[in-house]
Amino acid sequence: MEQLFNIDFKRFNSLNEKEAADRKKNFELFLKEGLPNKKNENWKFSDLNYIITKNFKNITNNDDYKFQEKIDLIHDFDHNKVILVNGSLKSSDLHFEEKGKVKIETLKSLEGFHHQSKNNLDYLNKALSIGGFNLEVQQNYKCKKPIIIYNYFTANLNNKIINNSNKIKVRQNSELTLIEYNICEKSKFIKNTFEKINIDKGAVLKNIILQKTKCNGYFYKSISGTQDFNSSYQNFILSSGLKFNKIEIDMILEKEKSSCHILSGLNLSTEEHQEIKTQINHLAPNCKSYQKIKKVLESNSKGVYQGKIFVKDIAQKTDAYQLSKALILNDQAEFNAKPELEIYADDVKCSHGSSSGSIDEEAIHYLMTRGIELKAAKKLLINGFLNEIFENIPEDKIRIFLEKSIAVQIDEIR
């Protein structure tokens, strides 16, 4: 592991002594066990150690945030813009919102980033984190337009590792739609992100994760959050295109009537590997959680879903649902799922379903008898399969934009 990582702590500017010692300590803790491998139950289906050592020989940390290129902005709908370059906050333009109601700044401290489950990548992040953003929406303020975070990665990131951490806080009765839009140049790199989310009483946070084009990135993102009374969290994961991606979501529904939705539509092709791992903790009565994960697997891609619903004994009247579906289009593709329930309350409605298989031959036959050729029929069915998850997005413009993005990906299917 020491040979694989060639880390230069001098690359962090303005490092005081204590901070430097902390970072080194965390890095040593990371080196002790190294990258997680399949012996770790959480990484059973995605052996990160194998994947990284196969693709990287010498990993260094990045200190270059220069940025000349012009970002290809989204013009389909009005939005506020935040630009991150190689994980670091570059600029923000929140001119659609009232002054002082939405704040974004570079994250200065990693306070509050404690994780329930032991995760070695947490040490790595703490050792090498370059910050990220700290976003806050004030009380009773409903954002007028969505915020798009243009997450731009430059062309000179080969064999680099980026560690960043973000904080998002939506205060009482506020509302925010946050779109993370990843744009990568051709370099091959690793990103390790930890994100902390706080949703206060009655607040609503919608989070969309979208990948613009194919990317040689190996991404890991851990999202952990807490939800207060009557709050709502929705996450749409549409991150197709990465070589490797694991998104781990750990939400705690602390107070009554909170709801959590996680929806994902992924379309994976050659050598791509994506995992979504969720843990929804129902700690209070009358909460709702809903998860729907859909994957289309082509070529030798690998799709993984590990979902867990935990219901504490006092969390009566919980309504929790989990569904994972996969379309396997090639014999080399693989789908793994572990939909888990851990329930200690009796008056609950908890269920999960999982299915995987190929495209329904009868449906294809039906379309072909109506004059649609095989390839087009397949694409039509795949489109229908993935588009289902957008039903929950009420804003037409955003939905149409997302459908368009997915259609481009499906078009690439041979």
Binding site: I328, A337, A345, V348, S355
Partner: protein, 477 residues
């Protein structure tokens, strides 16, 4: 009977027979293994096999990933062999058997004598470690069916034992399976010759008797080409305070066009109301559908034991082979169950079906843990899984941990799971028609389990239905 009375009803089969025991030296060592092998008059290859397993055991670690945790077992403080003394010289007929032993069996209702022959059950009863008597030998012999204690099979049919023993559960498999391979004492051996349909349900009653003795049963069932066998296993154990380890291995082999149906009703001592005592049931059960069109079907009703930890599995090697798993696991008081199955699809057109019903009451924990793995070569395979859990009260837990792996574009896996409590409307409906709370719950639970219960052979189904009701006594109202 009022619910209060039911609640206090003692474990019905909790009696200990006073029989002088003949024990191996305490502790796990080469000496103990040699002792067991010698007393069983085993050939050298068998002893070597055991010692190989023992050497492997030295490097293996006890697994600790499972949900039910248990206090550390001191393997050096256990007896690995105990046989009723009167068995040292094998009795020629039932009259020579210790009358106390016969009495125990009569209490359990085991049909050892002639009248009970009419019930059509051949019994190979294991009292602690040595098989006492085997009935219906003649009828089975006529068909060429071998049904005998495995210790006898080692001596009389070494070629079959050599060929198949350890072929489904290798001696280096995991801690408890390897432990069993090293120290197994007795169990059943069944061989069904080609194109033979076994005329009756084969059955073994196991009974743990001697204090501080772990039972290490080994069962091997081979169904040759085109044959069929249905095997029943049922268990009761006397009441006592110490926890007892039970680590059995069951291996099934089905060749071309053969079918094996294996049914279990497990009702070992679950510990008292406060979770003191009870059996640790750590069993490895695995079947290999080796031939084309073969079928293995597991049915289990798990109501006893302090901790049940077992995953009867099917390895579907042959093309068109079928694996089935039907399970009811009921946990009450402080009982813990972590059970499920593995369906490993290797051959083409293989099919598997899993129906699991978990019921939790009191402070119990019930986990379904299963694996469905469809390999890249298992074209056109199918799996259907359904896991339903029923919770009674908010002090118990129900968990579902399925692992699903699909590496094939022409195969389909479907999985469904639900967790709920007993429907108030149904209860109300039953109450209205004059059923008390206990009866109503028992009726509803039996309905919940129906899909599994109807898979059991007739003799068992009735017993199992009663067991389902008894197990939940005192959990409602």
């Amino acid at each position: 009977m009022k619910s209060e009375e039911l609640k206090n009803q003692e474990y019905k089969y909790g009696f200990t027979t006073q029989i002088e025991n003949f024990k191996a030296p305490k502790g796990l060592s080469e000496k103990t293994i040699k002792f067991i092998s010698k007393i069983k008059k085993e050939p050298k290859w068998m002893l070597d096999w055991r010692l190989k397993a023992f050497n492997r055991l030295k490097v293996l670690k006890e697994p600790n990933w499972q949900k039910p945790k248990y206090p550390k077992i001191d393997y050096q403080n256990l007896y690995y062999y105990s046989a009723p003394k009167s068995m040292q010289e094998k009795p020629k007929s039932l009259d020579e058997v210790d009358p106390k032993l016969i009495e125990t069996y009569n209490k359990l209702g085991i049909p050892l004598n002639e009248q009970k022959r009419l019930s059509g059950v051949a019994v190979d009863a294991v009292f602690d470690s040595v098989s006492v008597a085997t009935t219906f030998k003649g009828e089975l012999d006529k068909k060429g069916i071998i049904f005998c204690p495995i210790s006898e099979a080692i001596q009389k049919h070494p070629h079959l034992v050599k060929k198949y023993l350890g072929s489904v559960i290798p001696i280096s498999d995991h801690y408890f399976a390897t432990l069993n391979s090293a120290v197994f004492t007795d169990g059943s051996f069944v061989y069904i010759p080609p194109n033979t349909r076994c005329p009756m349900e084969l059955s073994t009653y196991f009974r743990i008797n001697a204090s501080e003795t772990g039972q290490f049963e080994r069962t091997l069932i081979i169904a040759d080409k085109g044959s069929y066998v249905s095997y029943l296993e049922g268990c009761t154990a006397p009441m006592r305070d110490e926890n007892q380890l039970h680590a059995a291995n069951v291996e099934l082999v089905a060749l071309d066009d053969a079918e094996i149906k294996y049914s279990t009703v497990q009702n070992w001592y679950p510990g008292d109301k406060d979770g003191v005592g009870g059996i640790y049931n750590f069993v490895t059960k695995r079947g290999a559908c080796r031939g084309r069109n073969s079928k293995i079907s597991w049915t289990q009703v798990e109501t006893g034991s302090a901790i049940t930890w077992k995953y009867p599995s099917c390895i579907l090697q042959g093309d068109n082979s079928v694996g089935e798993f039907y399970s009811i696991a009921i946990t009450n008081n402080h009982q813990k169950a972590d059970t499920g199955t593995k369906m490993i699809h290797l051959g083409k057109n293989t099919k598997s079906k899993i129906i699991s019903k978990g019921i939790s009451a009191g402070q119990a924990d019930n986990t379904y843990r299963g694996l469905v793995d469809i390999g890249a070569k298992a074209k056109n395979s199918r799996n259907y899984t359904q896991c339903d859990s029923l919770l009674m009260g908010n002090k118990c837990g129900a968990h579902t941990v399925p692992y699903i792996r699909n590496k094939n574009s022409s195969s389909t896996i479907e999985h469904e799971a639900t967790t709920s409590k007993i429907n108030e409307d149904q209860l109300f409906y039953c109450n209205q028609r004059g059923l008390n709370q206990e009866e109503a719950v028992s009726l509803i639970v039996n309905g919940f389990c129906k899909e599994v219960l109807q898979q059991l052979p007739m003799e068992f189904a009735v017993e199992a239905q009663k067991l389902v009701s008894i197990s939940l006594e005192g959990s409602v109202g």
